[in-house]
């Protein structure tokens, strides 16, 4: 099991643990106003970043290791978020504006008399958690099966994945869909009886996100270092060849795609209670493209890099929208261009490359191994 985690992984998990536990500790025990205190909003912010990191991991799994560029992964994230959101709406009960114990406010407003069938089971938190994995997983299975079976790859796949998320966005924007329309699901009060505004709940959700991130990382490492992972890499690098050798490439890709979608769903489910709203604009194609940027900035194919990229870019966004409200888009756009031009392997990738250079200088020259060039 320990061979699962290499040096990078060990550092990564350590940092996640320190940040998560440290933030909670400093939030609770350090006195307010002191330089060590971590304010409440920062706890939620860290939780949000951790969810984004998990989402980035899921994209790195399929992009870095299976060569599938999905420009619609935000859809899986949002579906998971909606699954959780539905449950949170049910937990409001009769404390909504119209005081209806069975129906959320927006349904009362639309004059609906009862819950539609697809809301069945949403009053159980366990069901919500399962649905947040099952719904994106099912969509990924259907979409992926159709796509990979027809050998839709590369840019075509990217574009139709964008179409998928765009269509979902339009659908969820419709008020008639029964998901709150443009306003989305919001006004959450409690999760499993715990008040969402309480510090303890917030800290708990953040820790849950940290655990999910760690779990996701281990899962990805497990998948990519196993035999399955090696075949997946072969499929990424030379799909036809792998197929001719006898591996069912579609099945390998499909499996990765579904697992990745489920991870994204979990990230979404944890994201929604921490942010307080889930809304169709999460389905926007622009959001999905941003995820790709996080992974590219951090380092594609390194897992750790993806998480790092997610945190860095979002932190930059948070900081810049406050510090340079009129110009932050320039900064962000330039960041993307610079990273793609000068750091194509991303931060972690570049550092790994530097380290290798350094090591090569130290080692005595050895017989060159036949390396498969990468393009």
């Amino acid at each position: 099991m320990l061979s699962l985690i290499d040096g990078k992984g060990r550092i990564f998990l350590a940092i996640v643990a320190i940040v998560a536990i440290g933030a909670v500790a400093l939030n609770v025990w350090a006195p307010v106003g002191s330089t060590f205190h971590v304010p409440n909003y920062m706890v939620s912010l860290i939780g949000k970043y951790l969810c984004y990191a998990l989402l980035a991991l899921s994209v790195d799994l399929i992009w870095g290791f299976a060569g599938i560029l999905s420009l619609g992964h935000g859809a899986f994230f949002a579906l998971g978020g909606y699954a959780m959101g539905m449950h949170l709406m049910r937990e409001i009960g009769d404390r909504g504006v119209y005081g209806n114990p069975d129906l959320p406010d927006f349904m009362v407003f639309l004059d609906w008399k009862e819950l539609p069938w697809y809301w069945a089971g949403s009053d159980s938190p366990l069901f919500a958690i399962i649905l947040s994995m099952a719904a994106p997983g099912a969509l990924a299975f259907l979409f992926g099966w159709l796509a990979f079976r027809s050998r839709v790859t590369g840019v075509y796949f990217s574009i139709i994945s964008q179409a998928m998320t765009f269509a979902l966005m339009l659908a969820f924007f419709r008020n008639d869909m029964g998901f709150g329309g443009n306003n989305g699901l919001t006004d959450f009060k409690e999760f499993m009886g715990l008040d969402l505004q309480a510090d303890a709940t917030r800290a708990g959700l953040m820790l849950a996100s940290a655990i999910a991130l760690a779990g996701g990382y281990l899962l990805c490492r497990g998948m990519t270092t196993s035999k399955y992972g090696r075949v997946l890499t072969a499929v990424r690098d030379a799909e036809s060849r792998a197929r001719f050798i006898g591996f069912r490439a579609e099945q390998y890709k499909l499996f990765a795609f579904v697992v990745s979608a489920m991870m994204a769903g979990v990230a979404g489910a944890l994201y929604t209670p921490q942010v307080g709203i889930i809304n169709p604009s999460e389905f926007q194609p622009a959001n999905s493209i941003e995820i790709i940027v996080w992974v590219a900035v951090g380092g594609r194919g390194t897992l750790v890099g993806a998480a790092l990229g997610a945190v860095l870019v979002n932190y930059a966004k948070t900081y810049l929208t406050g510090a340079l409200p009129e110009f932050w888009l320039f900064a962000l756009g330039s960041l993307f261009v610079t990273v793609t031009l000068f750091f194509p392997k991303g931060i972690v990738g570049e550092m790994a490359r530097l380290r290798e250079l350094v090591m090569r200088k130290r080692m005595p020259p050895r017989t060159p191994a036949t390396e498969v060039g990468d393009d």
């Binding site: 590369g154 990217s158 031009l341």
Partner: protein, 552 residues
């Protein structure tokens, strides 16, 4: 009457009395003619009042006064050109100029010079007054010398029928020589005759006349007459039959209308997608900044129009002719710069190009936002692009969309010709089919790439010029078209212009036929899902390019 013995005297006497009688009569007539200035002045005084009820009364009074200036005063009022001088309450017609208002007295028909805007106050109208005035003008202008004015009068009477004007209308109809005006007058008569107060036989005649008309007013009346409010059974029956005939005829034309709408939507999609088809097809580059190239073309149009507005407003109609090449050059140049500075380093890595171009699109959006502001900019339609041509059945083909269809096809033809007949086109095709081979043959693929990208971006710029005529011009313009452009290119087949053409038009028509049935949102969703499923079946799109091109 005269006894024969006093014949001469009698005749003299009769003649003189007749003459006196005639003089009295004409004096009476001219007395009434002279009497109207007072009525007119009373009417004008009412027009200046604040209350719109009083102004409405003023309009009626002015129309009834029979004053020769009434028509021009009322026409000015409905156009918003009627004012009154604050100093002496004199009603005037004023046209805005650079240095104030050029003022004319409508009654004496003399110019009063130029007055500053503070000296005059507008006589306000609202929708109700406008309708009333048009009806009044209808009555006044029935025998106007100008055929256009008579036509407008007839239309006005169709909309606001006044039974009191029936005799005047009938006599004008009898004398009318111009066929268009005659038809309009006939319709106006039919409208008046269809009212419940008219005799049933007149109404049946009116129904027959109305059956041949395609105007909405006619349908309105037929619907009313066929409905339950109509007391006379024979009228109701006749109207129902007439209505069915009309609606059958209309259905055919409405389908034509839907096809036109689909073609125009398709032409918009085509324009947006051609540029992308070129860059994607030849270079395999996913250019996420394509939408911004379109946006830049639209802004170039805005800037050129501003220049025309400030310096040569008479030539505003030419602004688009200038904007098209300007948009091409601006976006094309930007495209070449983008290619040389960023994209060429990312060769063979289409996914990285996607990211880099996404970053560039953010920068371009923000740049435009900073320079021009985030709000919409006013891009006007020149005269020859406004309005519509009316086909039978009330189907309207708006001019701007007709022009856009023509323009889109012209651009496509130009691009096709470029690729087919020029040497650059030959090089582009060679590089698309087999880059390495082309390189070995001596084609400088780097230069071809730069020019291709420039061409694709330039075409996007021209698309922006056209789109500025139908859509908002704002920094977000690009985002609205990027997804649709991708859909068209992927659906139609990469690297193939016919595919783009067919893809764009079929998507447009399907969308427009779905829209009345399922609503705009659901229609779009259905189209997207259909494309996704279609791609599963035919991954290379409608017209796939043979060869190992795009994968490598």
């Amino acid at each position: 009457m005269c006894q024969h013995h006093n014949l001469k005297l009698c005749r003299l006497f009769t003649t003189i009395s007749l003459i006196i009688l005639l003089a009295m009569l004409s004096g009476f007539i001219s007395f009434t003619a002279i009497a109207s200035p007072a009525e007119r002045d009373v009417a004008l005084a009412l027009l200046i009042e604040k209350s719109s009820k009083k102004r409405a009364a003023g309009v009626d009074a002015l129309a009834a006064s029979g004053d020769p200036a009434a028509a021009s005063i009322l026409a000015a009022m409905v156009d918003g050109d009627l004012f009154f001088q604050k100093s002496d309450n004199r009603v005037v017609i004023a046209k805005k100029q650079a240095d104030g208002y050029a003022v004319i007295d409508p009654i004496l028909n003399e110019a009063l010079g130029v007055l500053p805007s503070g000296d005059i106050k507008k006589i306000r109208v609202n929708n109700r007054l406008r309708r009333q005035i048009r009806g009044a003008l209808g009555g006044l202008n029935l025998s106007h010398s100008n055929a256009e004015t008579r036509l407008a009068a007839a239309y006005g009477l169709q909309k606001s029928p006044d039974p009191a004007l029936r005799p005047a209308l009938k006599s004008a109809f009898a004398k009318e020589a111009d066929t268009d005006v005659r038809t309009a007058m006939g319709m106006a008569l039919a409208v008046i005759d269809s009212r419940p107060e008219a005799a049933p036989k007149d109404r049946l005649v009116a129904i027959e006349l109305l059956t041949d008309s395609d105007s909405t007013e006619a349908r309105v009346i037929l619907t009313l007459l066929a409905g339950d409010t109509e007391k006379d059974a024979s009228v109701r029956a006749a109207a129902t039959i007439a209505l069915d005939t009309v609606e059958d005829r209309l259905f055919y034309f409405q389908t034509l209308g839907s096809i036109f709408q689909g073609l125009s939507l398709g032409s918009v999609l085509l324009l947006a997608a051609i540029g992308l088809a070129i860059t994607f097809g030849v270079m395999g580059v996913i250019n996420m900044a394509h939408g911004e190239m379109i946006m830049i073309g639209a802004y170039v149009t805005f800037m050129i129009q501003e220049v025309f507005r400030s310096f040569a407003p008479e030539y505003f109609g030419l602004s688009l002719a200038l904007a098209v090449p300007a948009g091409f050059v601006a976006s094309g140049a930007l495209g070449v710069v983008m290619e040389r500075s960023v994209i060429r380093w990312l060769y063979g890595r289409p996914l990285e190009t996607l990211l880099a171009t996404w970053g560039i699109s953010l920068i371009l959006q923000q740049a435009v936002r900073t320079v021009f502001g985030p709000t919409n900019q006013e891009v006007g339609n020149p005269e020859w692009m406004s309005g519509a041509v009316e086909l039978a059945g009330g189907v309207l083909l708006t001019y701007n969309r007709i022009w856009i269809i023509v323009f889109a096809l012209a651009v496509l033809a130009a691009v096709w010709a470029l690729i087919r007949f020029t040497s650059m086109g030959l090089e582009m095709r060679a590089v698309t089919q087999n880059r390495r081979m082309a390189n070995s043959m001596g084609i400088h693929s780097g230069r071809v790439d730069a020019l291709t990208f420039g061409l694709g971006s330039g075409v996007a710029g021209m698309a922006g010029v056209a789109l500025s005529q139908v859509d908002n011009v704002s920094p977000n313009l690009g985002q609205a078209y990027i997804i649709d452009s991708f859909m068209v290119v992927v659906f139609g087949g990469v690297g193939n212009l016919w595919g783009t053409l067919m893809g764009a038009f079929s998507l447009g028509i399907v969308n427009k036929f779905l829209e009345p049935v399922s609503g705009a949102v659901l229609g779009k969703i259905i189209v997207l899902v259909a494309i996704i499923l279609f791609i599963q079946k035919r991954p290379r799109g409608l017209f796939a390019l043979k060869g190992r091109a795009v994968e490598n």
